[in-house]
Symmetry: C2
Subunit: 354 residues, 2 copies
């Protein structure tokens, strides 16, 4: 459908595996809450199947088109681990990370909330320590994700392979500042995760910026935790966290753990935000393409739907974002042991929003 | 005390914080099980206090002496995070990591076992999925721990800081081989943790060696898991793991999580093994110096004591290693909500061994 003059253009990349299935439900919720005319959706056929058919991952012309949309909705990309047909990481790096880097998605935002009644792998003793409701602000354009590394004597007993973590004051400051702003709007507590006792160069930089910017946020209480200690904290008492800020790889690791302890990656939403607004931001569930359950209609679309709340908030439609969050929370609260099929969950949430 | 001609020489580095407290109990257990004459202990005064007094972290002469002992027992080193007096990481890098690198501790061995009755942050539903008993074989001499990185324009808004992960076929193969050997002697399952979809250079190397060596171990079932997915697996069903092999940093992160889910780092032992036998191996609890509870006599010495089982096994005293493990297991089983003070726990276990 064509949008009206005032409608925003949303690029939709369903991707691989369960990606398209959960994305369909996310768009259903988006249309239900914002009305049929608020957004114009443009589908982009990208992912494993496209690559197998054409050898293309993300053509330059498509990247150029995407540059001009108002936001991108992404399902999931990536072949099954060990898949013979697709080189490891080709889609992740050629599509997902390519978009994060090309569109300067400096702030990778990942909220975690443990809703009452949601099954968690944590014990009752841990859960009863306090409400679990935090957000990880993960840096998205630097660190070990730059693709800055190499190998020599590949395939031989003398092979040497390196990976370089690249960190700049510019990159660290903008994400740290974003995190402080979010902390100020929340419970005013922020935790930096790093490993500065070993990674002294990057660690010193992160520490310095964290403390310097922190001086401007006297109302926000800041603390530092080593990434390994954070693993323990996350399972022993996750209620201690409000805003977490960390680098790209530590953020990748800690957000999967965060998702697991708050009901699983079926529920974990994320936003890849371009802070300057020059490029479109991108909204996606934290989970991957889950090839093992693809095509069965059993993937949980909740994370994809919650990502639409992040999209709406980003586009200034805060009321609608809150309505999605509320509808998701209500649906989760009403779920039995079996939440239902992908479309059943999507239909229930959309019905609440209509 | 002087040792007999046949006694082995053990260097003892109590270190900082709770390090000396738990080490005393570890040695108590060691003497109880092996007899007073089996080992000659030589104390080395190293750590924060020594540095503050003399400005020395690990003098070359001490390093030279340590080279000739049969094994090293280490408590914990490291100042409190944010400690004003000691530069971040100075002791960790100048002492702990220095020893691991100088003595080529390629295999960092970290067993995790959830004993019945031990409080775990995981729910009953997770724990009842199966026995949790696995070992992480962490590479100890490469990766991001090499100290290979730098910074320019330090302290300015133009700062650039890098950290380099260095991986060699030589280094990867020896630890992977060690892990396969351990898997063969256990339940014959091995999991490689990495992030090869992003860290393609290092990831390809790890994958290749893992698969190549795996061909020689046709009786061992191998699989690959991304480090982020491993976070989920570890809290959702840790019983799925037998032997995990991974790089230095991923190993650091996953072993703290492993320790947390199997009763806390108060119980997690580790060995830093020099596979060639050219240099002494080192045995230490996974936990750090815990400055917040130091000096109160409340630190749990169990991890330090269990590390002595790893030491005994390494020195070929397998029966005595088994006796320590059994004594620890029995003590844990008999503990109430309060396990007792550091010395109470140590005395109880030593009494069992005497
Ligand atoms: C698919 C992968 C490249 C990606 C990442 O590592 O960032 C994913 O794990 C995520 O967290 O969004
Ligand atoms: C103290 C620190 C340098 C060390 C490490 O990172 O290896 C510790 O966390 C460990 O796991 O032994």
């Amino acid at each position: 459908r064509m949008g009206t003059e005032t409608s925003k253009k949303i690029a939709v990349i369903g991707g691989d595996g369960i990606g398209p299935e959960v994305t369909a439900e996310a768009l259903k919720a988006l249309r239900a809450v914002a009305g049929e005319d608020a957004f114009e959706f443009v589908d982009y056929d990208l992912g494993a199947e496209r690559w197998q058919r054409t050898g293309e991952v993300l053509p330059d012309t498509v990247l150029e088109e995407l540059k001009h949309v108002d936001a991108i909705v992404l399902g999931a990309v990536g072949a099954a681990p060990g898949s013979k047909s697709i080189p490891s990481g080709l889609l992740e790096r050629g599509l997902l990370l390519k978009l994060r880097f090309a569109f300067d998605h400096a702030v990778n935002l990942r909220p975690s909330k443990l809703y009452p009644g949601v099954p968690t792998p944590l014990s009752e003793a841990v859960v009863s320590k306090g409400e679990v409701d935090f957000v990880v602000v993960r840096e998205g354009t630097e660190g070990l994700y730059c693709g800055n590394g190499g190998a020599v004597r590949t395939g031989t007993p003398q092979e040497l392979a390196t990976e370089v973590s690249v960190n700049t004051a510019y990159g660290v400051e903008r994400v740290v500042r974003d995190a402080y702003e979010r902390a100020r709007a929340r419970r005013k507590e922020i935790t930096l995760l790093h490993k500065h006792n070993v990674l002294v160069n990057a660690g010193s930089l992160w520490n310095r910026i964290f403390n310097e910017v922190g001086e401007e946020y006297g109302d926000v209480e800041r603390r530092y935790l080593h990434i390994d200690a954070a693993m323990i904290a996350m399972v022993v008492n996750p209620s201690q966290f409000d805003v977490i800020v960390t680098d790209n790889l530590f953020g990748d690791i800690v957000t999967d753990l965060a998702a697991a302890v708050t009901g699983g990656i079926g529920l974990a939403a994320s936003a890849n935000i371009n802070p300057s607004g020059e490029f479109p931001s991108m909204f996606e569930p934290v989970h991957g393409s889950a090839p093992d359950i693809a095509g069965q209609g059993i993937a949980d679309p909740t994370a994809a739907i919650s990502s639409m709340a992040l999209l709406l908030a980003h586009l200034g439609r805060v009321d609608q974002a809150i309505r999605i969050d509320a509808a998701v929370a209500a649906d989760i609260a009403a779920r039995g042991a079996d939440a239902g099929s992908t479309t059943e969950i999507g239909d229930r949430i959309a019905a609440q929003l209509a």
